[in-house]
């Protein structure tokens, strides 16, 4: 495929993606007063992150078992209100250790 053709594809990808992100930020410069909309937007982050995490987290690693171990560790530490980096690295460590143990058996 010609390089110019690939560059046109990339331009389309980047352009569409940028417009999606840019338009809402530029159009809504004022705070929205409507109570329903404000409540809705208040809940959006939790709904979005919940849906992005589950069930995708269970297939993020090499095996379901290591993913479950990582999830349990993350949930446990998050319930104890540990920081983002702590929770994320502990989950990685749990996955690494679980996969190492699985290779032993």
């Amino acid at each position: 495929m010609a390089t110019s053709q690939i560059l046109l594809y990339i331009f389309i990808m980047a352009g569409v993606t940028y417009l999606i992100r840019m338009l809402p930020l530029v159009i809504f410069q004022q705070k929205i007063e409507n109570r329903f909309v404000r409540s809705f937007l208040f809940y959006v982050p939790y709904a979005v992150l919940g849906a992005m995490t589950f069930p995708a987290i269970f297939s993020s690693t090499a095996t379901l078992w290591s993913a479950m171990a990582g999830t349990l560790v993350a949930v446990f530490l998050a319930l104890r209100e540990k920081g983002l980096l702590t929770v994320a690295l502990a989950a990685c460590l749990a996955v690494y250790v679980t996969e190492w143990l699985l290779r032993l058996v």
Partner: protein
């Protein structure tokens, strides 16, 4: 209007972005590897990462490029997969303080990703543009660098390390959503509804063919909509 101090430190933003940048290294590493395996040059893989800054959209995009798909299909695919960013930008627009002028909105909007949105909206106060630039820095370069390394040397990280790193992003999400859900019943309920719909759409026959980006939009619309109807809040900035 309650007076809230806004968060506008580049250094604070940069620090908050480091875990995201680390997580991006492993994901973009996989992207770089895949792009080269599909026959694209290293510099094209890096160029895509530096101009798009999106995971699912890029993975789908290189598939379409190498298949020689029609341009309109590329545009529509990106629209559906990435439409969730519109919701996130809207949410950030309500969190932005007065330092977000038009010029900075045009620049900052480029850096709205799932994780950056998550950390930005997870802050208790309004956020300023310096904080946002700080937050975007490490993820942006992590994403580009990971792509370069993955594309240039596809076997540099052992498989066990890659597997462990790929849960990092989700661990971070859990750390963001669980503490507020522990303290607020309405947030917990919205979260449970959203996760339930997400499971349903991922495993139910027929429905599981919906694209990942579209699933997230549906979950967000239904769960947040129910939340707004059942538990409207008076003081949204609180908490």
């Amino acid at each position: 209007m309650k007076e809230t101090k806004s968060l506008n430190s580049y250094t604070k933003g940069f620090k908050d972005g480091i875990p995201i940048g680390l997580g991006y290294l492993s994901v973009s590493f996989a992207f770089g590897m895949m792009a080269v395996n599909m026959g694209l040059p290293v510099w094209i893989a890096v160029l895509i990462s530096m101009t798009n800054l999106t995971s699912a959209g890029q993975f789908a995009g290189i598939g379409l490029i190498t298949a020689g798909a029609p341009y309109i299909e590329m545009a529509l695919t990106q629209l559906v997969i990435n439409l969730r960013y519109a919701l996130m930008s809207l949410s950030i627009s309500q969190k932005a303080d007065q330092t977000f002028s038009l010029f900075h909105r045009l620049l900052i909007s480029f850096g709205v990703t799932d994780e950056i949105f998550a950390v930005a909206t997870g802050q208790p106060a309004e956020i300023g543009r310096r904080y946002m630039y700080g937050l975007i820095t490490a993820p942006y370069f992590g994403w580009a660098l990971g792509t370069l390394i993955g594309a240039a040397a596809s076997t540099i990280l052992p498989e066990a390390m890659r597997s462990a790193l790929s849960i990092a992003i989700y661990g971070m999400f859990i750390a963001i959503i669980i503490p507020p859900a522990k303290h607020s019943r309405p947030i917990l309920k919205v979260l449970v509804i959203s996760v339930a719909i997400s499971f349903l759409l991922s495993y139910a026959p027929v429905l599981q063919q919906l694209s990942g980006g579209f699933v997230i939009i549906l979950c967000a619309l239904i769960a947040s909509g129910l939340g707004a109807i059942l538990f409207p809040i008076e003081e949204v900035e609180k908490k």
